[in-house]
Amino acid sequence: MRGNHLGEFEELVLLTVGVLFDDAYAVAITNEIGKQSGRSVAVSAVHKSLYRLEEKGMLSSRLSDPESKRGGKRKRLFNITPYGKKALDQSMDLRSSLRNQIPDLAFNWK
């Protein structure tokens, strides 16, 4: 359980990495999460999640070519690994299965 457990923010980062396929690096992810969820995210939090997910084996990474926009520095691009996909699926399944188990009565507030 411990190994593939995903925190809420980690899950968000993992999903975003998928969304930004092949151009997922910290700045882009931060901006994307900000745009899609409307909440302001610190880049350090994204860094932390990315490195941790990489340690867990859910992300792989490589360095890009140098870019002038960043003062000639390379960026680290992330991709989802099969294990990452599995963890994502499991988490989604758990959520939808739980959601489906809620009886309609629970939503009947009248």
Binding site: Y25, A26, V27, T30, A42, V43, S44, A45, H47, K48, Y51, R52, L63, E67, K69, R70, G71, K73, R74, K75, R76
Partner: protein, 861 residues
């Protein structure tokens, strides 16, 4: 403008400093990208601020550098730790001795610390401690000037009226009373005070208000007393009956209970009542009575420096006092602030603060320092000795690339580790053994609080100090060797090392001092224990009478008891209460102790007469008196029988002289004593002589009589010998303590010597081999092993003997009023013990050399 568009330099430098190199590029790129993005739609200032925020936020473990050098250093220290532990385990005895010696020493220093801290924090918690002063006076009595803590009654009032600087005045007078509530009856001490007392000394109240003491019928209890009489409930509004004497009883209503006093109090109270009660209690009370000395007068000034002005103007009181009262010629007045009162308390007679235990405060630090020195010297010798076994290790370390400073660090670290263990053990020893001991000796509630920061700072200071002081020399010494010499086996080790010898010599001197101390203490304690009291304390019992009529009732019952041989009454009783008074002989005044007794008191207690005889039964009106030998010595009366002295303006004639006896324990000197005849109505004590062996039975009988006659008064009585029980217990405890210290000192010295001799012999093994081959016998070998140490011993003895003698004589004389007549026994015994220990140590090494095969010593190399 350009500058504002670029990355802020200092935050970037900070970032670069903390960020690890393999992530630096990507993270700094990210931050930079954000910065340039923001520049496009924000002011540069804001962008720069946000950049700073990002840098700070990124300062998290994922970005941190691992310290570059940390790995190897940590590994090195781990290795040191391991080798230290191993070498400790390999020589369990010597490391135990080292650690134990150090821990005893550290424990002692901790006790010293606790005492000093305790004593210096006494009574400092009062808010006005700097502004409140105790009034004292100097008086010349028996040619000795002394300072007294009591004050004439009118002083307080006059001080207050005469000086505008004085804000508040509080008078204090103590009474011994009986306090009764329902069936609970106890003897207590009540403190009569002006209500300002509680404003000047800030004892917070748990219940009630201090101002309600203004009512003359109110009483305030300490927390302890409240629990004793009323349990844990709020007693405010309840009533207590206070019996000041047989006729003077009064009901007080409880108006307040104090919070529990802090441990660090010297001044406290059990019960507080209004001072005006004096009018009720003292029949001859008069507010202008300069003869009436009250327990204390406290004043509070707004500005502490004003006290000098007040002091300079106290001459008129002196004049007033000396006109009124001729016995007490006052020399001058003085004031002590509460803050420092306790420190000065031992110089003030009869003050309300508690005296410092002088002996303990001087003796202990000296002993602690000596022990620490002894343990350090010992460690130094042992460490150098054991380093012989580790020469190879040091050589290998050096070959691998450790420079001298690395080896020094290693040895120091090792030593600190050991000292650390010793400190832990010392702390443990202090809490479990030393403090309980010293608490009973010093009579102060000493305790270590483990959350006291100062204590930890002190402990760590001691740890580092001891560790470095004891470790630095061995470390320097051992690290000096050349690798080549080590491996070639050419290290000349321990052959001639004057410093080590000096250490050993010091160690022996200290051991000498400690052994002498133990012996002298032992002798003295035995001497004190066997010392005669001056009367027959065995088989004597006493009762404190609850009221006047009690004497006849008890006597009636006692006369029927076959075990009781004789019974006599008295107003005062030896070992319990004696009152101080003044006598005049030919215009000279002397302070004496006064006892008023029945005529057969002397036969009952078996106090012997050296001249004259006891009172005759009908001598009550004859104004006769009996004195002791010390009285004669002090007054220099040549022909005492028939001599006349004046006491309270009455003339008394001396009809007898008794031998000196100890009215109180042997810490106190024998005072001059005057016996007068006591009227039967004044009897407060019954003393009795019982048949030998029946003491316990009679004691039980007495309790039975008491319970029948006075069920409402607590039993007050006991065996005469029990009056000194605590004194003898103290003696035993000190005996045990000094013995332990001396044993540790002997052990340490013996081991230091052993280490040094072994080292020396090992270094000279070739020499001994050659000697043996050439035909040296036991005698020759012995002399060549021991020669240099004999010189050392002689030196240690020559220095140590007078030192030990003086120090311990001083200590013993400080403690006991009648020490064992000075003799050289202690020093002699200490010398013999030391010599025996040394012979034991030498014999092991001489034996080793004697059975050694010389071929082996000559074969190597």
């Amino acid at each position: 403008m350009k500058k504002k568009d670029s990355i802020p330099r200092i935050p970037h430098a900070f970032f670069k400093w903390y960020c690890k190199s393999n992530r630096y590029e990507e993270i700094s790129g990210d931050l930079e990208e954000f910065f340039y993005d923001r520049l496009e739609h924000m002011s540069p200032v804001k962008a720069r601020l946000l950049y700073v925020r990002d840098v700070i936020r990124c300062c998290q473990p994922y970005a941190w550098k691992r310290k570059g050098y940390s790995n190897s250093t940590i590994i090195m220290f781990k290795n040191y730790f391991k080798t230290s532990l191993r070498s400790m385990i390999r020589n369990p005895l010597s490391s135990f001795i080292n650690i134990f010696g150090l821990s005893v020493a550290i424990g002692m220093t901790l006790v010293v610390y606790t005492m000093i801290e305790f004593s210096s924090s006494l009574d400092k918690y009062h808010e006005n401690a700097h502004e409140v002063f105790l009034t004292t006076f100097y008086a010349d009595r028996d040619g000795k000037e002394a300072q007294y803590g009591t004050t004439p009654l009118p002083m307080a009032e006059m001080l207050k009226n005469d000086f505008s600087q004085i804000e508040k005045v509080a008078r204090v007078q103590d009474f011994s009373v009986i306090v009764k509530r329902e069936d609970d009856v106890f003897h207590e001490r009540v403190r009569a005070i002006d209500p300002t007392f509680l404003e000047m000394l800030t004892f917070p109240l748990k219940w009630g208000t201090p101002s309600s003491l203004a009512d003359i019928n109110s009483i305030v209890l300490s927390s302890e007393m409240a629990i004793k009489y009323f349990g844990y409930d709020n007693p405010v509004g309840q009533e207590l009956l206070v019996k000041f004497s047989d006729e003077k009883k009064k009901i007080f209503s409880v108006v307040g209970v104090a919070e529990e006093f802090p441990n660090t109090h010297a001044i406290s109270f059990d019960f507080l009542i209004n001072f005006e009660n004096l009018k009720f209690v003292q029949p001859d009370y008069h507010p202008l009575d300069w003869n009436n000395f009250i327990s204390a007068t406290l004043i509070q000034v707004s500005n502490p420096s004003d006290i000098e002005i007040i002091k300079s103007q106290t001459n008129k009181y002196k004049k007033l006092q000396n006109e009124m009262e001729n016995d007490w010629k006052i020399i001058g007045f003085n004031f002590h602030d509460l803050y420092s009162l306790h420190e000065n308390s031992s110089q003030i007679v009869n003050d309300i603060s508690r005296d410092q235990a002088k002996e303990v405060f001087i003796g202990l630090p000296v002993m602690g320092a000596f022990m620490l020195a002894l343990a350090c010297f010992n460690y130094i010798n042992m460490a150098i000795g054991s380093a012989t076994k580790r020469l190879k290790e040091i050589g290998v370390r050096k070959v691998i690339g450790a420079n001298r400073s690395k080896v020094i660090v290693q040895f120091l670290a090792e030593n600190l580790l050991m000292t650390f263990f010793a400190t832990l053990m010392g702390l443990f020893l202090t809490i479990t053994v030393f403090l309980p001991w010293f608490t009973s000796i010093a009579d102060a509630p000493l305790e270590i609080s483990l959350i006291n920061i100062n204590m930890w700072i002190y402990l760590i200071t001691i740890l580092i100090f001891t560790g470095v002081v004891s470790g630095i020399y061995p470390a320097l010494y051992v690290s000096k060797f050349r690798v080549v010499h080590i491996f070639r086996g050419a290290v000349k080790f321990g052959k001639r090392n004057p410093i080590m010898k000096a250490f050993l010599c010091l160690q022996m001197i200290l051991a000498f001092v400690f052994i002498t101390m133990a012996v002298m203490f032992n002798e003295n304690s035995n001497y004190q224990a066997q010392r005669e009291w001056g009367y027959n304390q065995h088989g004597a019992l006493y009762l404190e009478l609850p009221e006047k009529a009690a004497f006849d009732q008890f006597k009636g019952l006692m006369d029927q008891n076959p075990n009781i041989i004789s019974v006599s009454g008295a107003r005062d009783h030896v070992g319990k209460t004696i009152s101080e008074t003044m006598v005049h002989i030919n215009d000279n005044a002397y302070t004496v102790q006064q006892l008023s007794v029945a005529s057969n008191y002397f036969t009952t207690l078996e106090i012997d007469f050296s001249q004259g005889s006891s009172f005759t039964d009908r001598s009550t009106n004859n104004k006769t008196a009996i004195v002791n030998e010390t009285f004669l010595k002090n007054t220099q009366l040549q022909d005492p029988i028939g001599a006349i002295f004046k006491l309270d303006s009455t003339q008394y004639q001396i009809i007898g002289v008794v031998n000196d006896f100890h009215a109180f324990n042997f810490y106190n000197k024998i005072d001059p004593i005057v016996f007068l005849v006591s009227e039967k109505e004044d009897y407060r004590f019954i003393s009795m002589r019982v048949r030998a062996g029946s003491e316990m039975d009679v004691y039980e009988d007495l309790k039975g009589y008491w319970a029948d006659l006075y069920p409402e008064t607590p039993f007050q009585g006991g065996q005469q010998i029990d009056l000194w029980a605590k004194f003898y217990a103290d003696l035993g405890q000190m005996k045990r303590f000094t013995r332990t210290i001396a044993s540790v000192a002997i052990l340490l010295a013996a081991l230091g010597l052993y280490g040094l001799v072994t080292l020396n012999v090992s270094g000279r093994i070739k020499e001994f081999s050659i000697r043996k081959v050439l035909g040296a016998g036991l005698k020759n070998l012995t002399s060549s092993v021991t020669r240099q140490y004999i010189v050392l011993t002689v030196v240690a003895f020559v220095i140590g003997a007078p030192l030990a003698y003086m120090l311990n004589l001083g200590l013993v004389e400080m403690m006991f009023a009648y020490p064992l007549p000075a003799g050289y026994w202690g020093v002699g015994i200490a010398f013999v013990i030391l010599v025996i220990v040394m012979l034991g140590v030498f014999s092991t090494q001489v034996r080793r050399v004697f059975v050694y095969n010389p071929a082996q010593g000559l074969r190597s190399e």
